[in-house]
Amino acid sequence: MKPIDFHLHRPTTLAEAIALLAEHGDDAKVLAGGQSLLPLLNFRLARPEHVVDLGRLTTLRTTRRTTDGLTLGAMVTYARAEASRAVAEDAPLLAAALPFVAHKPVRARGTVGGSIAHGDPAAELPAVIRALDAVMVAAGPRGVRRIPAAEFFVGNLVTALEVDEILTGIDVARPARGTGAAFTEVGRRQGDFALVGAGAQVTVADGVVVDVRIALTGIAGVPHRATEAETLLTGVPPADLDLDAAADATRAVIAPSGDLHATADYRRDVAGVLLGRVVATAVERATGHAHRAA
């Protein structure tokens, strides 16, 4: 479990980092918090000849509030995001999901951008990003691109980023008043990558649910945006929400696979259970009281 011999680069500017990637292309890998990349290197599953450490790019470590939301620097650690008031207020679903990511030591180093760029379908943040329709900002030799979440996650550990692009930040829109969010998951142990996870953000206005965003982890190669459930829940007064029907709608369209830790049937069923739970909690948070219909 020793990595192959590689060159470590520690650029101090984004331009320098991009130039390194442009030069080494396929032979290079970006290093953020290292919480996924270092095991991959040690197992020799990743074999880059050049590793470009983003640790000195301090500009990527900031969280900025904008007129319509939040721009999270890619190198903001989970721990910093968890402690951020801006995140709590402007991205409540992200705030709800962060405590579920791994354990504190991993959250102290792992980064928001690293998780999203890694694109693990079992990870919390990609699902949150997908639910929120956040926009990924990527910089490369050909300039800056803005990539919507719906296009960003392409497959298991595959994203729309090109090999010479760096994810610099994530734009998250500020939710309307009357919004609540919730995240939950089930894993074999606390801190493990979950067997299934679910996040929901619900906005209630004038006594009806006007916006629902639900995404699931662990049931496909990319986060599952549960539009089939969202459709059933939108436009309905909170007290009349049929969460069982929503859960069943999602169970009907997903096709998770089974492994050592849980069968496909288990994942499918529990995805529906968790979906019901997070929507109920999100509605409660949006309205200030419980609404779960019997």
Binding site: Q190, L195, H261
Partner: protein, 822 residues
């Protein structure tokens, strides 16, 4: 001198009226005190010294080429490219190694089963070592290993132990002719009578899937050969009896040329740190290359190439009982999957014979044990040496019988417990249990758990539509390990003692040093030895130095296996202390002009029986012994240096042909009570309350015992709910790192309440019994029992395969939804 052997037994901390030999609380000065654990200082400060910290100048590092196939013929190995890599020093293949070494030891009589550090003609599991690359660094060695080209011809493989036992199964060792390595059928007691008296029987099939103790420190070894002194120095993270001798044997060098250093901290083991193949490989390379060689497993190698998996068993247990729930007969059929190379692991089927009826009165027993090979990683000794899976199977059968009888599970147990006045109690398989008071321990645990309140909480959860259950397990920890099970499984192994030694030296200034020749893997032997020597001599343990002699400077020792050190080393310390005191008494008596039997030793002084004021103090005694020949009794030798080697208590007999034998001497008891709640939506288990009643006789150090109880329980919770070394049908390991091999963390292990009870053993120096396997012996059964209580209350079938995953629970619940009324 005072007849201490009878007078100083007892349980000062937890003396209760039911503890027969409970002595006055002041009978012990240092035992049983909350006196701290001296090892903690260095571990907490990060100053342990592990094998990875040992790097002699010029050390070379080993990387391993491992088999990707579960079974394959090795057609060709091309090492040229690897050898050409700068920094690579040598590449060794199995064929080359086999030329100048002996195969590794098999404990069964299976000459056709050849186990070697590197596979020779065929590989028999995915992960098996095929070649070793030696380089200037471990990273370079791994680079080299990638360049070794092995041409394999895949062969049919078998992964399921029951399939492997069939006549038409692919053979793991074709020349052996069968995958069945051992099959023994035992019947003890009046089987026909026991069956005839039964009104009914309950049969359960339980599956104990493969898990192990998975230490934080992987196995490591450093070997260095000095050709001028003709000495092989070995530092290894071992916990293995006869390691030096087996190393020498395999390397074909005299045993007195192998010096294993025991002053190395071992970062966890509980049985698994055997590493004989690692040692032979490193030792061979060190001699061949004339340089120190270091082999530290990485996590994947450890998990799949280290041959350290634990028992992997299928049980069928049939319990027969009367209408009142009195047990009349027990049948246990078990198949154990040894993996590719059986080694010592099949003996783990024999040890449970010494506690085959658990804590119950069961007059007759049939025990049919089969060991098979498959194309899985090799198995090795794991905490309890086969006892924990057996305890789980028995307890699962007891729970199932209670369900069939419609009887309270605890009541059924109580009804069948061996009663305190029945000890020593001979079980049908010939072993005598030394002592115990099972009802008293259960009472304590029930009180500490506030069982009625626990039941109320469980029922409240159920009333709200939730799932909750309470689990119980009552079981024994045989302790004071001897190796007589070797003889049970293979009559040609006629070893009947398993000794342990200790040296006590009092130097010229009167300071006391105790020397043992074992390494420790977290069992706090420094604390134990200092405490016991202090108690024996009446000197403060804090001032006693404890050292580890190497294997050549030391004395016979079997290493801390079989929950035995408090017992057997305790015996050795008693022997050494008695000899030392006899010498001091001789000196003192001579000085006082008295006969040796007119004085006694008392806390460092020699005192005349007749006149307490006539005494010779420590300083004078020491000075005479070391420097004043003119004051020594005539013929007495100088110095105060004593070595004593002790047998295991009650050892020394071979097994009868029917397998009856006195196995271990001491039997600790524990009962677990646990409340589990299960999320009905996700089927996830949360353990809410966990109480253990535990009786290991006299507690030498309460903190150490609690550590064993807590850690062992965590280990057992892992077995019940999380841990498994899994393979897919293609023979590939699915658990190669801690991503998939799930150890319970502080999140998963609830607060554990341990209530101690003390029934001293009559066969040990202070009434102590073993505690090293505590917690682990009962937790799997208790946790599974709690889950099954929740499931069966819902009409679901109990799950009898460990670990129980949320997915398993969900499937069991779904079956009721599908079958039951809509």
């Amino acid at each position: 001198m005072r007849p201490r052997r009878d007078g100083r037994r007892g349980c000062p901390v937890t003396a209760t009226p039911s503890a027969p030999a409970a002595a006055a609380p002041d009978a012990h000065r240092y035992l049983s005190q909350e006196a701290g654990v001296r090892e903690d200082r260095r571990f907490v400060a990060g100053r342990g010294r592990y094998v990875a910290d040992v790097t002699p100048p010029g050390t070379l590092h080993v990387g391993l080429v491992t088999s990707p196939h579960p079974h394959a013929r090795i057609v060709d190995i091309d090492v040229a490219e690897a050898l050409a890599l700068p920094g690579v020093v040598a590449v060794l293949t199995g064929a080359e190694l086999a030329k100048s070494t002996e195969p590794l030891r098999q404990y069964l009589d299976v000459p056709e089963v050849q186990w070697r550090p590197l596979a020779v003609d065929a590989t028999r599991y995915a992960g098996e070592w095929v070649a070793a690359v030696v380089a200037e660094s471990r990273a370079l060695a791994e680079d080299g290993a990638e360049l070794v080209v092995v041409d394999y011809e895949p062969l049919p493989h078998v992964m399921d132990p029951e399939v492997a036992a069939r006549a038409d199964a692919p053979l793991v060792h074709p020349t052996h002719g069968t995958n069945v390595m051992a099959h023994r059928e035992f019947a003890w007691g009046d089987v026909a009578g026991g069956r005839a008296r039964a009104g009914a029987t309950t049969t359960v099939r339980t599956r104990w899937n493969r898990n192990s103790t998975v230490p934080l420190e992987t196995f490591g070894v450093v070997a260095a050969w000095d050709p001028h002194r003709e000495l092989l120095d070995v530092w290894a993270s071992i916990q293995m009896p006869q390691f030096p001798d087996q190393l020498a044997g395999a390397l074909r060098i005299p045993t007195n040329q192998v010096r294993v250093h025991f002053d190395i901290d071992v970062g966890g083991s509980y049985g698994v740190k055997r590493g004989i193949k690692h040692g032979v490989l490193a030792g061979f390379l060190a001699r061949r290359l004339g340089a120190p060689v270091k082999l530290i497993e990485d996590r994947s190698e450890n998990m799949h190439g280290g041959d350290f998996h634990g028992p992997d068993r299928v049980f069928e247990v049939e319990l027969a009982y009367t209408a009142d729930g009195e047990f009349t007969h027990l049948r246990i059929d078990v198949i154990d999957d040894e993996g590719a190379y059986p080694g010592r692991s099949p003996l783990q089927l024999a040890k449970p014979i010494g506690a085959i009826v658990g804590p119950y009165r069961i007059p007759s027993v049939e025990y049919n044990a089969t060991a098979v090979t498959t194309n899985k990683t090799g198995q090795v000794a794991v905490r309890g040496f086969g006892q924990s899976p057996t305890n789980y199977a028995i307890e699962a059968a007891v729970d199932a019988a209670a369900r069939d009888l419609g009887m309270d599970r605890l009541e059924l147990r109580r009804r069948n417990f061996i009663q305190p006045e029945e000890f020593p109690y001979r079980i049908p398989s010939g072993t005598e249990y030394d002592s115990g008071d099972y009802p008293a321990v259960v009472d304590k645990a029930v009180r500490a758990a506030d069982l009625p309140a626990l039941i109320e909480r469980r029922d409240a959860v159920r009333a709200e539509g939730g799932l909750a259950g309470i689990g119980f397990a009552a079981c024994l920890e045989p302790s004071g390990g001897n190796a007589i099970f070797e003889n049970v499984m293979n009559p040609r192994n006629d070893k009947t003692t398993f000794p342990e030694g200790c040296r006590i030296r009092v130097d010229g200034e009167g300071a006391v040093t105790a020397v043992v020749s074992i390494s420790s893997a977290g069992q706090s032997h420094d604390t134990m030895v200092a405490t016991l020597v202090g108690e024996e001599l009446g000197v403060d343990p804090a001032g006693i130095t404890v050292l580890r002699a190497d294997s050549l400077a030391g004395f016979p020792s079997q290493s801390p296996v079989g929950s035995r050190m408090a017992i057997v080393l305790g015996q050795a310390i008693r022997g050494a202390a008695d000899e030392l005191k006899a010498r001091l008494c001789a000196i003192g008596a001579h000085q006082l002009g008295l006969a040796p039997d007119e004085v006694r030793y008392d806390r460092g002084s020699v005192v005349a029986h007749a006149d307490p004021d006539a005494a010779v103090g420590w300083r004078d005694l020491v000075a005479i012994a070391h420097r004043k020949q003119h004051l020594l009794p005539p013929g007495a030798s100088p110095g105060l240096e004593v070595v004593h080697v002790a047998h295991t208590p009650r050892s020394g007999t071979l097994a009868e042909p029917d397998g009856t034998v006195q196995l271990y001497p001491c039997y600790s008891f524990e009962v677990h009570v646990v409340l589990a709640e299960i999320d009905p939506g996700t089927a996830k288990v949360e353990l809410r309350d966990y109480v253990i009643g535990h009786d290991c006789g006299t507690v030498l150090n309460p903190e150490v015992v609690r550590g064993m109880v807590y850690g062992g329980t965590a280990h057992g919770i892992g077995v019940a709910l999380y841990e498994q070394f899994a393979f897919n049908p293609d023979g590939q390991p699915l658990t190669q790192s801690f991503i998939d091999y799930l150890l319970p963390s502080a999140h998963e292990v609830p607060d554990i309440v341990d209530v101690e009870h003390c029934t001293p053993s009559p066969y040990t120096t202070f009434g102590q019994k073993g505690a090293g396997e505590a917690g682990y012996m009962g937790a799997p059964a208790a946790v599974a029992g709690a889950v099954n209580d929740a499931l069966t209350a819902r009409g679901a079938a109990p799950v009898h395969s460990l670990p129980i995953t949320p997915s398993d629970i969900w499937s069991a619940l779904r079956a009721t939804r599908e079958e039951g009324p809509q």
